[in-house]
Amino acid sequence: MSQALWYASRATGLVSLLLVTATTVLGLLGASRVATASWPRFVVAGLHRNLSLLTVAFLAVHISTAVIDPYAGIKWLDAVLPFTSSYQPIWLGLGAVALDLMIAITVTSLLRTRMSHRAWRIVHLTSYALWPIVVIHGLGNGGTDRHQAWILALYALCFLAVAAAGLLRLRATHPDTELRNVNVARWR
């Protein structure tokens, strides 16, 4: 039984990594204004939103199975309070940091239309830190999993996807953005 919980936690963790990666990539594509006839902007935005909520569901299972499983002795507080766990304090702590960021990003996004857009944006920009933290948490904590080739291939695939979308974001340009930058330079 305890083995089953441990395996469930590892599996849902891995699925969460894929979902966080997909959410991040879709967010980058949306911010880059990527759209085609079959993938209009609202599809990218809607998928970004729904996959992020699905991530929360998988994270709930990932965390609760890890805590309920008695083997590692992880406490509920370790999931939100970083670097206090007796088991793998660094790697687990990064997971707690990621969870805290995720809660902040999700709550502000659910309240987005009711709060200052600037404040929402500042919180949402922390998702650029979220993805690498998630990856390091997974690679450091993955125990024996990371020695399996297909797991490493999955991480490599995630990295390539985010790197490609990130490059696209850096190169993306739009007349509105350029105009705003010109005006800022003139008035400074």
């Binding site: 204004r33 209009p40 902007r41 609202f42 987005r112 239309t113 857009h117 739009h174 007349p175």
Partner: protein, 70 residues
Amino acid sequence: MTRGPRWTLKVDPIRCQAHGLCAELLPEVVDLDEWGYPLLPGEVPPLLLSEARAAAAGCPTLALRLVHTD
């Protein structure tokens, strides 16, 4: 039959960055000009109110607002 409040979509021209999601979500009401900024009609038909609400909430910069004018 009594008339309810009338609803119009208003865009904040400084916040709007021409993402164009409003025109995708509410093509019956929102047209885009040649630079991608929304051209809004006077009134939103009552039948399209929930779609108009979705368009306002879906704006990436929250530049679109649904306001009622009695």
